[in-house]
């Protein structure tokens, strides 16, 4: 594994790939996001953290235009704010999305799931990156004729990741990729993500703090639709009280999970 930037104690923030200002989302009658400001640093993994129901998933969906939103969203290399643009357009600017519940197409085969993602690659002027996919997910190739709905949860997560990597996104939005996976699979997914992060900017929503510790450089913490903390991941995690205060039960749950999880064998 090459030298992807690992958490450093203090680093000057690099150039932002994505800049979000004053993002608001209303769903039904609730004001779910109430002015979120967010920078995603180019080449780094930014963690979007927070307790359950604070609006992490909604933030990712708002960035993509999957929910109606207001505010300013700027993507490097694209003129103007993309906040008015429809989802497919945003995605074709090189934004990949791995949703919270994987959302693979259950009735389609693995191969068909991947084929769907091809146009995204072509839109950005590259050929679909099957090499990387085979390299990272060798098992999927053997199961290419299988219906995605019959795969295990971990395998479905791999399909969701492979599908989006095919298009070589510039920015990858990943929502709780380790949710509901066994400790061994958590490690596996974390390893895949680490390799992906070597070449792609990532905005990662994650509850598992050991994964956060290994992957994330900078964190943004949400509470009730607002940003309540911003800073270096290592700094936050080093302060157990502050972590518990910001992330609530997540910290305790994670302590347990940590004990049972074989630490990802990645350099740190």
């Amino acid at each position: 594994m090459t030298g992807a930037p690992r958490p450093a104690t203090s680093r000057a923030p690099g150039e932002p790939l994505l800049t979000v200002r004053d993002l608001h989302v209303h769903l039904g009658r609730s004001h779910v996001l109430q002015g979120v400001d967010l920078d995603v640093e180019k080449g780094a993994v930014t963690g979007l953290l927070g307790r359950n129901g604070v609006g992490k998933t909604t933030t990712l969906k708002a960035l993509l235009g999957l929910v109606p939103r207001t505010g300013t969203i700027r993507l490097q290399g694209v003129d103007g704010s993309i906040e008015k643009r429809p989802t497919p357009w945003v995605v074709r600017q090189g934004v990949g999305y791995v949703p919270e519940d994987r959302e693979v197409f259950a009735g389609l085969t693995v191969e068909e799931n991947l084929r769907l993602a091809e146009p995204m690659a072509r839109a950005t002027g590259v050929e679909p990156d099957y090499d990387q996919v085979h390299q990272l997910f060798g098992e999927l190739y053997e199961r290419r004729k299988q219906k995605a709905g019959t795969l295990s949860g971990g395998q479905q997560q791999m399909v969701a990741l492979a599908r989006v990597l095919l298009g070589r996104p510039r920015l990858l939005l990943v929502d709780e990729p380790t949710k509901g996976l066994s400790p061994r699979l958590v490690t596996e997914v974390a390893q895949v993500l680490e390799r992906v992060a070597e070449r792609t900017t990532v905005l990662l929503v994650e509850q598992n703090l050991s994964v956060v510790r290994h992957l994330v450089q900078r964190v943004v913490v949400l509470d009730a639709g607002r940003v309540v903390h911003r800073g270096e991941a290592a700094e936050l995690l080093a302060d157990a009280d502050r972590t518990r205060e910001l992330l609530g039960v997540g910290a305790r749950r994670d302590a347990k999970a940590d004990a049972g999880t074989a630490r990802p064998e990645v350099t740190s």
Binding site: L64, L66, P86, T87, P88, V91, R92, Y97, P99, E103, F105, A106, G107, L108, E112, R115, L116, A117, P119, M120, A123, R163, V164, G167
Partner: protein, 294 residues
């Protein structure tokens, strides 16, 4: 025995008609979440378009090759109308399913009224090619040829739809869209482009049902679309919204049950059994409503 065969053939013919209407309804609902009440109007467009062409279109007529030209014209009218409805009325209300359904309800009312205003509400005799009036002997039973016309048309449409869904890129997008439209968009695909296509294809199938159903009935009325539509809805729901093969299977079941019960029990019992079948299916497996295209 020959009565039973006749009933089976008629039931299958009826099922074929239901399938032609239901397949489009099912795909439209599955992909777009629109319960399309205007589908009856597409059917009527096909019927009246065919009838009009057989009288006025050069080269078209009530028999022979002219008849097929007339049918082609009717189907084209249905497809164009459906595409226009999608582009002009459904698309501007994108994702507002409720308004979309309401608009189709308004259209269905207006369309019937318009046809009535132009051509009156009395049945108009429909062109019937001479060979459809003949019979085919099957195992001793004399089966009217028009039954086979309906069944063959439905089989052709079923085959065409399945090929479209299974072997084309658009079909792949439709299948994925029926399952989870947002995720298709999140992969950078503009699903809206497929909506017009699905409407046009569904409209064409309904228009074919309108034309061939009128051949079977021997006449065309403005209300024909609406009455077929209700049973087509039932077929769609029993078959599973969004599923073409499900619609086909359900159409066969509904057509046969209706024919057989109407004959062997009493007139009307068949219709009632179909309705009960729907209630039973829905209550037994409400989850069966979820989309599955193939």
């Amino acid at each position: 025995m020959s009565t039973l065969l006749l009933l089976l053939a008629t039931g299958l013919g009826l099922g074929a008609l239901y399938f032609l209407v239901a397949s489009g309804l099912s795909l439209i609902y599955g992909l777009m979440g629109v319960l399309n009440f205007a589908h009856g109007a597409f059917l009527s467009a096909g019927a009246y378009g065919t009838w009009w062409a057989s009288q006025h279109l050069p080269g078209a007529g009530p028999d022979g090759a002219g008849f097929w030209l007339a049918v082609t014209f009717g189907v084209a009218v249905g497809a164009v109308l459906a595409a226009l409805v999608e582009l002009l009325l459904i698309r501007p209300l994108y994702r507002r399913h409720i308004e979309q359904v309401l608009v189709t309800v308004g259209l269905s009312l207006a369309a019937v009224a318009l046809l009535q205003g132009i051509w009156g509400s009395d049945p108009i005799p429909f062109p019937r090619p001479s060979w459809t009036a003949g019979t085919v002997r099957v195992a001793g039973a004399a089966i009217p040829a028009d039954r086979f016309l309906l069944i063959a048309a439905a089989l052709a449409v079923l085959g065409g739809l399945l090929a479209l869904l299974r072997y084309t890129r658009v079909g792949l997008v439709i299948r994925a869209g029926v399952e989870n439209r947002s995720m298709v968009e999140a992969l950078g695909i503009d699903v809206r482009r497929t909506f017009t296509l699905v409407f046009a294809v569904g409209g064409a199938a309904a228009a074919l049902a309108g034309a061939l159903g009128s051949v079977y009935l021997g006449s065309v009325t403005p209300q024909q679309g609406t009455s077929l539509l209700i049973f087509a809805f039932i077929v769609v729901v029993i078959g599973g919204l969004g599923s073409v093969t499900g619609s086909a299977a359900a159409a066969v079941v509904v057509g046969l049950v209706q024919q057989l019960a109407n004959y062997y029990a009493a007139s009307g019992v068949g219709d009632l059994s179909v309705v009960l079948l729907l209630a039973f299916v829905l209550l037994a497996r409400p989850q069966g409503l979820s989309g599955r295209t193939a």
